[in-house]
Amino acid sequence: MAIATHEVSAAPGSRRAGGVLLRKMSVVTAIACGLILMFAAHYWAVNFFVMPELPEGQDAPSALVYLLENRVTLTTMAGWVVGFMLGIGAFNGPVRWFFGKDLSDADLLYQAGKDQGVWRYFRFTTDHKVVGIQYLVITMSLLGCGGTIAMLIRTNLMTPSSSFLGPTAYNTFVGMHGIIMIVATIIMVTGPFGNFILPIMIGARDMAFPRLNALSFWLIASVVPVLLSTPFLGGMPTGWVAYNPLADQAPPGMDAFVMTIIVFAISSAVAGANITTTAVKMRTRGMTWTRTPIFVYGVVASVGLAIPAFPAFMASQVLSGLDRAAGTTFYNPAEGGSGWLYANLFWIMGHPEVYVILIPAVAALLELTPVFCRRPLFSFKAAVVAIAGIVGLSVLVWAHHMYMSGWAPSLGGSFMLTTELISIPTGLLFLVFIGTMWRGRIWTRLPMMAVYAMLWNFVIGGITGVYLSDIPADSAMHGSMFVTAHFHYTLMGAALTGTIGAVIYWFPKMTGRMFDEKIGAWGFWLIQIGFNVTFIGMFTVGFAGQPRRVFNYSEAFAVGNFVSTMGAYTIGIGALIFLGVVIASWRRGIVATANPWGAKTLEWQVPTPVPLENFDVLPVVTSDPYGYGKSDARPPDSPSDRPREGVGV
C-alpha cells in the first residue's frame, strides 16, 4: 500500500531529490510526448524500411509494398503508445528506482492525487477512487462511440438495398462497433466499480499495487486513439473477430486492431493481477471468504478468467501482426499456415471473454438485490459455486464457435456437452435471484428494476444460447442474425443492463450525489423496450436466414430489419436521456447521504465523499454482509421458527 507509508516518516518531505518532473506530468505532456515519439518513429520507420533497389523498369512487388506499409504503421503506433505512457509518467517510478532514488513520501501522496482538485483525473494518479472514475468516464465514452456506430449500421440496414454507408464503411463500422463494445463491456464493471468500490468493500485503503492500477487505465487510454484511427487507415473488413486469412489482405486499419489488442491484453493482465491480489490479500480483519460480498467474487472471477484468456488473444494478434509486417505465414494456407489456428486462438479467448463481461455485471446485481429486497442473498454458497462453475467450464467451450468450420467435427459432441453444462451453474444464479426476491420487501427503485430487466433479457439470451449450442440447430443458425441477436441479449440485455443498475446503485457513493430516477427511468425503460424490439426483430430475420454482417439483404427480411432499426433508434434516444441524467445528476444532483439505500456492505459505511484513505481505522468485520430481514437464529420459543417436517421437500 503506497499511501499508507506516510505515517512512517513525515520529515524528509522537503528533500528536492526530483519529483519536479513528476508534478508536471499530465495528459497534456502525455499527448505531446506521444505525438513526438509517434512522428519520430514514423520518420525512422519510413527511412529504415525502404524498398530494395529494383532493376530498371520493374514495379515494386505488391507483397513487399504491403509488408513495408504495415511495418511503418505498426512502428508509428508503437511510438505513440510508448511516448504517451512516457509522457503520462508511467515509467517515473521504475526509472527513479533504477537510479536508486525511490519516490519520496511526498511524491507518493502527490501521486495519490492529494489536494489536486480536478486535475488528478488527468494524471497518472494512483488513488483507486480516481482510477475508478477515470474508468467510468472512458467506459461511457467508448459505449457512446460504439452506440453511435450502431446507429449508423442500423440506419444502413433500415432498407434492403441501402447505399447509406457503402460496403467499405459498413464493414469497417461493423468491426469497430464490435471491438469498441467488447473493450468497453470488458472494463465496464471491473474498471469503474472493481477499482472504486471493491477496495472499500473489502476494507482496504487502496489496491495492492496502486501504480499498476494507474498503468492499466492509462494503457487503455493510450490505445483508444489508435483504435479510433482505423477508419482513417483504410478501415478493417473483417468484423471484430479479425479472421485470417481475411485479415491478412486488409489495409493498415487492421494494424490498429492488432496494436489495440496487444496493448489491451497487457492492460487487462496488469489489472487482473492487481485486483486478484487485492481481493485475496487485503480483505480487512474478520472478512472471511463467507463474509466477502458476492460482488468481490464476481470481479475476481472476471479478471481471473481474463488472465488465461487474453494472452491467447494477444498471441493471435502478434502472429497476425507478424504475418502482416514480417512476412511470416502462420495463417496463410498457401504457405503451410492455417486459418483454423487463428480461429482456435481467437475463441480460446473469445468464449471466456463473454463471461469476463457477464459475471461481474450479474454479480453487481446480486450485490444490490438483497439491499432492495431486504433479504439475505439466497444461498450465498450456491452463488459462489455457480460463479466458480461458470469460470471453470468457460475455458472448455471455445470450439462451439467452430462447429461449422470443418475443424475437428468429431469433437463437436464434447464441445456441445461442455457448452450445455454451463447452463447448470448459470441457471443456479437465476435461483439465487428469485430466492432472494422471494417474500422480500421489494423496494422498486431503479437499480432493482435493472434486476428485473436483466432477468427478462438473460432468460431469452440464455435459452437462445442453448439452441446455438446444439449442433443441429447451429447448422441452420450459425452465421445468421440469430447469433447476433442472441449475444446482444446476453452482453447488452444482461451485462449492460446489470452495469446500468450498478451505475445507479453506486452513483451516490462515487459522485456524492443522487441519480435523478424520475427522468432517468425514462431513459432506462426506453433502452429496455427499444432493446427488446431491436433484437426480437433480429431473431425473426435470423430464423428466416439472414446472414450476419451484410450491408444489403433480400426483400424477404425487410420488415424485421425495419423493426430492428426503429428499436435501435429507441435505444439511442433512451441512451441519450440516460447519459444526460448521469451528467446532470453528477453536476447538480441532490447531495447524497453516506448510505442512502440502507445497505450493509462496507463501502456504504464510510463518509461521502470518501476520504483519501477510505478508513481512519481499518474496520473489523464480525458478520456477513447480507444480514437483512428478521433474524434466522431466534430463540426456539419463537413459534414461527419451530422446525417442521416436510418443509420444502
Binding site: F378, S379, R441, D470, G545, G627, G629, S640
Partner: protein, 278 residues
C-alpha cells in the same frame, strides 16, 4: 417447478400450511402454468419463421427448434412468474429503505438441490437430443475424403472465392456452373473449399452449412426432398462484398438435371475457371 417454496412460515404460529398449500406458492404456480401454456402454444413460431424445408436435415432442425422452444417456455416461465408475482405482491413503495421485516432465511437446501437436478436433467436431454440429431443430420461431417469419394451419389466440388460460388461436377466431365444444380431425392456430396479467405457454404432451406476453408476440404451430404429454387449464401464474413455472395440452388428431377448436364457439356467444354463477378 413450484418448489421455490421456502421454509419460513407466515406469522400464524399454529397450523402453518405446508409449502404447497401456501398462497404465494400457489399463486406463482398458477402464473407459471398460464405463462407456460401460452408459451408452448406459440412454440411453432420459430419453425414457421424458418420457412420452407427442402431436406430431411432441415425438417430435423425445424423440429429441434419447436421442441426446444416448447421445453424452454416453462423454464423461462419460472423466472417470469416470480418476477410478475413479486412486483404485484411484495412491492414496497417509499422514499426511505424498507423496514427489515422480510423473512431472514438464507437458503433452502431442498430447493437448491431440486433446482440443480431439474436443470441437469434438462441439460442432458438437450445434449442427448443433439447427439442423436448429429448422427442423423450430417454423417459426412466426420467423413474422411477417402470415405466420401468412395460413397455413391453425385459429387459436387464447391469453391468459394471473393465473392462468388463456383460448382464443379467431377463425375460429369468437370462441368462448371455458378448456379448449383442437384437432382431431387438423390444423395449429393459437397466437397467444399476456398481459393482465398474463409467462406461458409450455406443452402438455407436445406440446413446445409459448412465453412469453405482455403487449403482444406470439408465435406457434407444432403438429399433434397423438394424441387424448386433455393438460396445459397455465404455465412462467414469474407470481405467487401460478403453480402452479395449469393446464388441459387436448383433442385430438379433426374431427367431435368440430366438435360441440364447435357446442355452444359454441349455449350462449353470448360477448361478454365468460370469466375463469378462481384
Amino acid at each position: 417447478m413450484s418448489d421455490t417454496a421456502l421454509k419460513e412460515e407466515d406469522r400464524t404460529p399454529a397450523d402453518a400450511p405446508r409449502w404447497w398449500e401456501r398462497g404465494d406458492v400457489r399463486a406463482v404456480f398458477l402464473i407459471w402454468l398460464i405463462l407456460s401454456a401460452v408459451g408452448i402454444a406459440f412454440a411453432w413460431v420459430p419453425a414457421w419463421l424458418m420457412g420452407l424445408s427442402a431436406s430431411s436435415e432441415m425438417d430435423d432442425v425445424k423440429m429441434t427448434m419447436t421442441w426446444f422452444t416448447a421445453i424452454a417456455m416453462p423454464v423461462g416461465a419460472v423466472i417470469w412468474a416470480v418476477m410478475i408475482y413479486s412486483l404485484w405482491k411484495w412491492r414496497y413503495r417509499g422514499e426511505q429503505p424498507p423496514p427489515d421485516d422480510a423473512p431472514g432465511f438464507q437458503t433452502n437446501p431442498p430447493t437448491v438441490v431440486m433446482w440443480i437436478v431439474i436443470s441437469a436433467v434438462l441439460t442432458l436431454f438437450v445434449f442427448a437430443w443433439g447427439l442423436v440429431k448429429i448422427a442423423a443430420i450430417s454423417p459426412a461431417m466426420a467423413m474422411t475424403s477417402a470415405a466420401t469419394s468412395a460413397s455413391s451419389g453425385l459429387r459436387v466440388e464447391v469453391t468459394g472465392n471473393q465473392w462468388a460460388w463456383n460448382f464443379t461436377y467431377p463425375q460429369l466431365g468437370n462441368i462448371q456452373s455458378d448456379v448449383l444444380h442437384i437432382p431431387l431425392g438423390e444423395q449429393t456430396t459437397f466437397a467444399v473449399s476456398s481459393v482465398d479467405v474463409i467462406h461458409s457454404f450455406w443452402i438455407v432451406q436445406m440446413a446445409v452449412k459448412v465453412d469453405a476453408n482455403p487449403g482444406a476440404i470439408t465435406y457434407l451430404t444432403v438429399t433434397p426432398t423438394k424441387a424448386g429454387t433455393f438460396e445459397v449464401r455465404c455465412a462467414e464474413l469474407c470481405g467487401l462484398y460478403h453480402a452479395a455472395m449469393e446464388t441459387t440452388s436448383v433442385v430438379s428431377s433426374r431427367k431435368d438435371f440430366d438435360a441440364w448436364v447435357a446442355e452444359m457439356r454441349a455449350v462449353k467444354p470448360v477448361s478454365s475457371m468460370t469466375e463469378g463477378g462481384a
